[in-house]
Amino acid sequence: QQQVKQSPQSLIVQKGGIPIINCAYENTAFDYFPWYQQFPGKGPALLIAIRPDVSEKKEGRFTISFNKSAKQFSLHIMDSQPGDSATYFCAASVAGNTPLVFGKGTRLSVIA
């Protein structure tokens, strides 16, 4: 049973474009939704996170949109750059009580 479903598997955008990565979850007890960024040969690093009491959170060029009724959340990268090329993982947990459950990842390529 896959608790967090992530799409697309891969994404190619032009520099300056706005890639969007989507995740859907099943467990309504989840109340913490982070995104992680992973470069080749490195471990994932926390990028941005949201709690369900807000519908949107921005940090720099990264924005999370959250739709509690649809049990979906997404990552938008504004003005994408080649340096944003990485694998992105969404995740979810019951904050403080359970380990993070990760999606399968999206490989993003930003081409100049």
Binding site: Y32, G43, P44, A45, L46, A95, G96, L100
Partner: protein, 116 residues
């Protein structure tokens, strides 16, 4: 150290052999996690240690897998009688306190295990 340290970075072993993977978490981090990353499969939770509490072993895929954490710091993941399907990158992460998910995990760079 400044980050989570994992060793070895790469390990090639023969099918049927036992392997030990080591994780040194960030000093003072009470929570420690092991995940497995296989191609196209995302990060699969294996085991979670929090302070002196009994570990959450619910993600271990078989009884060939075990882990311990000594003195609340260094952790070792042991895989006995390795199989080819055990080939993956094994990631360790730590976080600073019980309400650890709110602060995010710091991952190591992983151990790439190849079973031949």
């Amino acid at each position: 150290g400044a980050g989570v340290s994992q060793s070895p970075s790469n390990k090639v072993t023969e099918k049927g052999k036992d392997v030990e993977l080591r994780c040194d978490p960030i000093s003072g981090h009470t929570a420690l996690y092991w995940y497995r990353q296989s191609l196209g499969q995302g990060l699969e939770f294996l085991i979670y240690f929090q302070g002196n509490s009994a570990p959450d072993k619910s993600g271990l895929p078989s009884d060939r897998f075990s882990a311990e954490r000594t003195g609340g710091s260094v952790s070792t993941l042991t895989i006995q009688r390795t199989q080819q399907e055990d080939s993956a990158v094994y990631l360790c992460a730590s976080s600073p306190r019980r309400d650890s998910t709110l602060l995010g995990y710091t991952f190591g760079s992983g151990t790439r295990l190849t079973v031949v």
